[in-house]
Amino acid sequence: MSDVLNAVPAPIGLLAELTHRCPLRCPYCSNPVELERRSAELDTATWCRILSEAAALGVLHVHLSGGEPTARSDIEAITAHCAMVGLYTNLITSGVGPALTKLGGLAAAGLDHVQLSVQAGDASTADSIAQLKGAHEQKLVFARRVVELDLPLTLNAVIHRGNIGSVSDLIALAVDLGAKRLEIAHTQYYGWAYVNRAALMPTRTEVDRSIAVVEEAREQLQGRLVIDLVVPDYYASYPKACAGGWGRRLMNVSPSGKVLPCHAAETIPNLTFWNVHDHSLAEIWAESPAFQAFRGTEWMQEPCRSCERRERDWGGCRCQALALTGDAASTDPACHLSPHHALIRNLARTDSASSSSTTVYRGFGALTEHVPAGEPV
């Protein structure tokens, strides 16, 4: 055991969920269905302490996220603190509400990068998805200001049945706005998106077409726009690597200070999450039960246990394994080697054919498109 722990590399990324408050109500939001309240949010001093600890632990990138992170009145102070301790800051924002007025202050505080969510290529589709009239237009104004301030801009679009026809428009929009990167991220079905799966799932044909559009654009726009594509699990043969491996690269701090191995980890019952009020980040990383639960390969069952890909994809997503097979330690059913793989295929087929459009829009507030799971660095 201690060997395993000694071999644990330091984390490279920290997702700081500063608040779950958000002016938008996207149906695919990956925030937990139980949103945390404002009264439970960490104060400025605690965030600054955590961020100093993160830098000392080896974290390089901090993703300032939510909800809408600019809903926090101390967002500039938190950003400035990150810059002071040498952390690279990525603001993950909806671009609506207070975001625009705070942008200049954030740039001055040393913000490194802005990731702006967009719901579709055109305003009417986009606003109906976000459930806020005028949101798309506000985002465009925000995006132009980002580029004017010489900050690198990434657009992030979560793709689902309601906007999958919009992929080429999204690419054109990214070029037009002067974005350097575009993330075309097919919905990952956790949190709100899992609840709304039947209304969100696109068909296989639509998925294939959208991927072809991206591949063609990538070639044409090389050197101008980088397009990162997150393909949908439900139509895959192999799972995505779980964010570089559970407890290997990333940590996620919730608005109230719970530290999670991933943003969806609370869907797994019986995991104990430690809170920054009780432990240092280093202790939590090395010793907390939640981080140890699925770290490495010891916990694996067959077919993962003896699979040659086990240190490549780490058995896929624990949250998806739980949601679909009832066992968080089983092989992610997105993998064609999983005995439950037929299940995910069938779900994709039935859901995408269903006429369900009754979508549960998230309350009481926030939206988030997180860094797509299994994402970088």
């Binding site: 990138h61 690279y88 690198p152 350097k180 090389q222 860094v371």
Partner: protein
């Protein structure tokens, strides 16, 4: 469309891209949006000379002198390396065709 740097191009690191000394892992990394690159000694030397002032020819010249190596060979390697980064929009340069938007 590929971006094509030449010996006369003047590369720079745009805002949001920076060198960082990672004391924990005892290495230098290039931090960029959603990416971090581990740098070997050569890559680090090259990027340290990328300042928005020197041309690639001058960068290669400085390295050739320091390592007592052929200017041509080094120049080609530097162009290769920086082209890779420019294509991913991590390095900017003037003059550089596709970046000059109307």
């Amino acid at each position: 469309m590929m971006t094509a740097l030449s010996a006369g191009s003047v590369p720079h690191l745009p805002r949001g891209v920076r060198l960082h000394h990672d004391r924990i892992r005892n290495t230098h990394v290039l931090l960029a949006p959603e990416r971090a690159f581990d740098l070997d000694d050569i890559a680090l030397e090259v990027l340290r000379l990328v300042d928005g002032q020197r041309s690639i020819r001058e960068i290669a010249g400085a390295l050739a002198a320091r390592y007592d190596a052929e200017q041509d060979v080094i120049e080609a390697d530097v162009i290769d390396m920086l082209n890779g980064l420019a294509n991913r929009r991590i390095v900017g340069a003037t003059p550089l065709e596709p970046d000059r938007k109307p």
